[in-house]
Amino acid sequence: MTSPVTSPVEARRPPVRTGGRDHAVWFLVLPALIPILVLSVGPLLYGVLLSFTDAQSGRTAPTRWIGALNFRDLLHDTLFWESFRIGLVWAVGVTVPQFLLALGLALLLSQDLRLRWLARALAIVPWAMPEVVVGIMWRLVYNPDAGILNETLRDLGLGDGRDWLSGLATALPAVVVVGIWAGMPQTTVALLAGLQNTPRELHEAAAVDGAGAWRRFRAVTWPALRPVALSITALNLIWNFNSFALVYVLTSGGPGGKTRLPMLFAYEEAFRYGQFGYAAAMGCVMVAVVSVVLAVFLAGRLKGGQDA
């Protein structure tokens, strides 16, 4: 499934100077290429192979090929599909609001507002924090007794609050909010950079012609922003679908598996129960989904911005 992506549509420009000097190129490339092959490409292919075996951790009997048995089992594994569904809800539930919020923030930050420097600096703070710390921090916010959320609700007379991360109904929405918060900076920064591409003169001309803010956004800003918006949304979907640390720290997948993302599920399968082959098969299914997203994204890019 890597083939459609590894053949990018470049190479139209003539080579700068490759002739006869290929060994020099190899000399420059090899130091990075070897680790990439050994620790990235190799393991990926190895992982795909593992998914067709009964590999287990710490077993002495030799590992055997079992064909598509893992995938057949997976098909009937309702727990996995429930986790998969939660993963999709999580990925979309985080990515979409995150995009809208980040777009609003980026538009504000590109305005000539006072204190803009402070806002720009603060807006990237979540990015700098280790995911584990983000998880810990929000646990403190959500804490039923000592947390600020319940205290604020009590102050506002909105009831006594609740144990957000342990409630069956509230756990997933609660972690989704954290996911939105944690990914805001990357999205905002990408959109902010995209906004710098929007032709300022066009904007002013449209304003002179009496176009309102919304018209100007639709007609001038959005077309210029679209390629970046598409890229960052696709990346966010993928990153969120593959995310692990945040939810691991917040809920460890609980309560009752309500926040068990596919990554957490596969992690437990592999490193708690030692089912390497089966977990690898789960990984393959996840790659398949991610590839579809990536394909849609690449197709959209080819159709949209020509400068890709």
Binding site: V5, T6, S7, P8, A11, P14, V16, T18, D22, V25, L28, V29, P31, A32, L33, V38, L39, S40, P43, Y46, G47, L50, L108, Q111, L113, L118, L122, A123, I124, V125, W127, A128, P130, E131, V134, I136, L140, A146, G147, I148, W181, Q186, V189, A190, A193, V228, S231, I238, W239, N242, F244, A245, V249, S252, P262, M263, A280, G283, V287, V290
Partner: protein, 277 residues
């Protein structure tokens, strides 16, 4: 000038709302870190601690080997950052300047690696590192961090190399400078700020990383800061809030410092290259 006062007021109100949303969890972390146990147990927690204390920090260091873990994190992150830029810079140069197939394959890999679910990589990686006897070792983790930070490093560096005009290199070549000479005395100095920024990014990525460290390191003496932080949260999810907040705050400081250094580059369009290139 063109914006009406009402609209402007609305913009400031919206900006304020964003800032509150982005800042309040961090302020709460700070507030919790400086609160004495009695206030943490109170049913009506306040934003400002009545009697701020440093006891939580002392207790955090007593409860968990934070210094040792920070040292482990520092070694892995520094090693990863240095090695990553050392091997990524030449490769990025080739990717930016040449259209040979390894360069194109590398560009493809950069895209594809964004889509890796780590779970598909981590199991074989675990087995490979076990075979190389690099499991449960900082050296092994550092290697993994090098590879794991390479896609983004390459992405950034390719952009920086493209920004160096080819004409400069050609002029040096005309003046009789050899290929290596050109790279070392013309291209490298121009790339230096970009390389520094890339190294800082690689450092933060490794410093913050959790998943690989969780899986690959077993003995407590080897564990990095994020893994040790999770030990503050007990098996039943009950945590000693004060020390937890204090330790979490300390673990964030290095990344915050690096991001403060990088702030201009980040909001100034550094990522533009990364997303569009």
């Amino acid at each position: 000038m063109r914006t009406r006062p009402a609209a402007r007021a609305g913009q400031y109100a919206a900006l304020l709302a964003y800032l509150i949303f982005l800042a309040f969890p961090f302020l709460w972390l700070l507030s919790t870190a400086f609160k004495p146990p009695r206030e943490l147990g109170s049913l009506h927690p306040t934003w400002i601690p009545h009697r701020p204390t440093l006891a939580n920090f002392r207790q955090a260091f007593d409860e968990q080997p934070l210094l040792h873990a920070a040292l482990n994190s520092l070694l892995a992150a520094l090693g990863a950052a240095v090695i990553a830029v050392l091997i990524a810079t030449p490769m990025a140069y080739v990717m930016a300047r040449h259209r040979t197939w390894p360069a194109r394959a590398a560009s493809g890999w950069v895209v594809v690696s964004q889509a890796f679910p780590f779970v598909l990589v981590i199991i074989p990686l675990f087995l490979v590192l076990k075979r190389l006897r690099l499991i449960d070792s900082l050296a092994g983790l550092t290697l993994v961090y090098v590879v794991w930070s390479l896609p983004f490093a390459l992405w950034m560096l390719v952009g920086y190399v493209r920004a160096v005009p080819v004409e400069l290199e050609e002029a040096a070549a005309v003046d009789g400078a050899g290929r290596l000479r050109t790279l070392v005395s013309v291209t490298a100095p121009l790339l230096a700020p970009g390389i520094a920024a890339t190294a800082l990014f690689a450092f933060v990525t490794a410093w913050n990383e959790f998943f690989f460290a969780l899986v690959l390191l077993k003995s407590p003496g080897n564990q990095t800061l994020p893994v040790v932080l999770t030990h503050f949260i007990g098996a039943e999810g009950v945590a000693d809030l004060g020390p937890l907040a204090a330790a979490a705050f300390l673990a964030t400081l290095p990344s915050l410092v690096v991001f403060a250094l990088l702030q201009r580059r980040i909001t100034g369009g550094l990522i533009a290259g990364a997303v569009k290139s």
